[in-house]
Structures are given as structure tokens and as C-alpha cells.
Amino acid sequence: MKIAFTAKGTVWDSMMDPRFGRTMFIVLYDDESRTLTSFDNGVVENEAHGAGTATAQKIFELSPDVLITGNGPGSHAVQALKQMNMRIFAEAHDMTIKQAFEKYKKGELKEI
């Protein structure tokens, strides 16, 4: 299973980025290989418009099973993400990726 996080850095102790569209990085955890890979989203961060849909496109390409983010994607991004077979959890802000992952495992995050 692959889990995607919106984050400000690329390691477990990096803070979550509460923003979806303008997130600095997308971090992907593969629980079979137990590896963390990251994708720089800086190009999208600089978009004037449509950051949400552009990031949704990236998520689509990474095709995770679960997405964990902070504020929750905006309505456009949600509409795009709903096309994918993926569960989305929000309200993981003010914490590290590791903490967000723990909260997700305990079922403490809000599913969208």
C-alpha cells in the first residue's frame, strides 16, 4: 500500500504542509518496501492559478491508496481526486509526517 503526504520536507520528521495545491513536497510511503520517496512540488507552488488541480494531476500519476493532508483539498482538487480510487484524510496540520502517520493508523484523522 502507498500513502501520500503533503509536506514541507522529505523525511519522517518534516512538518506536514497544511496546503494541498501549494504543498512544497509530496512524500510517498510504501509500506511493503518501507521506503519514503519524495517529489518536489515547487513548480506547482509557483502557479498563479489551478494549483489544486495541478497537484491532483501529480497525485494521480503517483497513484497512492491513501492521501493524508492538512486543511483538505479545495473543491476542484477533490473533484479530480474523486476520479481515483483513493481514500483521503485531512486535518493533519501542525505535526510531522510521522505523527500524521500514527494518527492515521489510530483512525484519528478525518476522512473526506
Partner: protein, 293 residues
Amino acid sequence: MTNSPARIAIASGKGGTGKTTLATNLAAYIAEQEEVVLVDLDVEEPNSGLFFKGDLIHEESNFKMIPQWDEPKCTFCGLCQKVCNFHAVLQLGPTILVFPELCHSCYACSELCPTDALPMISKRTGKLSDFRINNLHFVESRLDVGEEQAVPTISKTKQYSNENYAHLRIEIYDCPPGTSCPVIEATKNADFVILITEPTPFGLHDLTLAIETMRTLKKPMGVVVNRYGIGNDAVIDYCQKENITILAKIPNSRRIAELYSSGKLIYQEIPEVKELLSNILDYCLKASKGDIE
């Protein structure tokens, strides 16, 4: 001499300086003598209508053009997604998604599509209403919730007024605040721009930005100082230094604030304001015809 109306735009660098108060009072004052049209171009927050209760004489939807996916024709080449600078078209596997609110109607995806699988269709973005109160015509547009692009609606609203009220002598535009694209669109075909400000440091700062903007557009302009008496003389000094005419100083008064707060027209209660409006109007009309400067 041309027959088209004199277009007077009322703008300000920041909100809350009395733009709508001036626009509604000026329009109502003119309407005592002749037919006039007031166009509310602050399409995100149209407020002028709160001051008038008139008969709705016409209503129509505002539209913009967006692409619509024609699935059978699509070869999933990915070009549409690639050419859209606004990320309004996405290809997610075997699906093309169009996000109407993000679309700028540039037609690139539609016209560059090799199989014509994205024809342009029209989509409602809001509503235009035209009211009449005796001699006063009042036109406003309101964006639907979620619509963010004010500029096409502003342009459309002006066009409606230009087409329907070309026979009048005066058109008044109540513009959105600020100095960004909506203001540019609202003022770009005005014959004269009135900038309204307050004699305070905030007022002065925002006025300098507004003046800079109008100079970029090469618009003839004048300044109305609202709530004159508070603050300091820095706005007056600045206008003199920059050689910008001060059209009127509307005195600071609690009575005016109270009338405004209840949605009442001010000049009807305070004769001094009526006289100021008359002066402002005379100057604007002369300046619009190019009789000044």
C-alpha cells in the same frame, strides 16, 4: 462632438472611502433633472443596489465560453492538458475533466485538439439586472458563488449599458476597489475618473497607488476628499504638488455617517452636499468633453 454618453468612473485605492456613497448620490442627483444610468461594476460585492428600490425591468444571465469534452471523439493524446496554462483541463487516465471556474476562455485546448473533442460551449457565470427608478437606470451584475473571474463580467456589464443607454448624456460607473485587473477593466473606457479618498495616512497611501494606476491608463482624473476635517492636509498637499484637481471636499460629519448607515441618500438631507455634487458634475462633464486641460 460625439453623441455617446460621458462615462464617469468612480474609483478608489482602498475600500470604504465612500465610493458607493458618491456614486449613488451623484446618480440620484442627476436623475432629478435627466435620465442617467448607474452601473455597479464591483461585481464581487455589488452594494449600490442596497440604496435603491426600483422596478426590475430586465434580467439576463452572464456567460463565458468553456470547453466540453466529447468523449467518443477523444484520442487521449494529452494535448489539451498540456496547453492549458490554468490547469482547467485535466486528463486522468481515460477521463478528461474540465474545471469551468479555472477556465479563462482562451480556446487553446479546443482549437488545438486534433480531433475536435473539446468544442466550446457557454456556461452561466452570474446574473445581470437592470432596474429603473423614474429617471435613474441602475445596472448591476453579480457573480455566482465560486466564480472568481470578475473581468469578463465587468466587460459584459459595461457593454450592456453602452448598448442600451447610448442615448443618455451621462453614464456612471461604480468601480471595484484596489489597483488590480478588475479596476483596470472597469475604468479603461471611462472619459473621466473620480478618485475618492479620506485625508488620512491610509487614504493618502492608497490614493497615490490609484493615481499611479490611472496615469498608466492615461485617464483624466480628479480627487474627491471625503470626511474632510479629520486627519491632516497631506492628501490636499499631495494633490496640489501632483497637479491633480480636487473636485470637492465632503465634510466629515456624524450625520452623514448615520444617513449612510441607514442606506439613505445624503444630499437630500444636507444641502451643502447637493452643491458639492453639482460642482463635481460640472467639472466632470467639461473634462470628459476635453474642455479642461
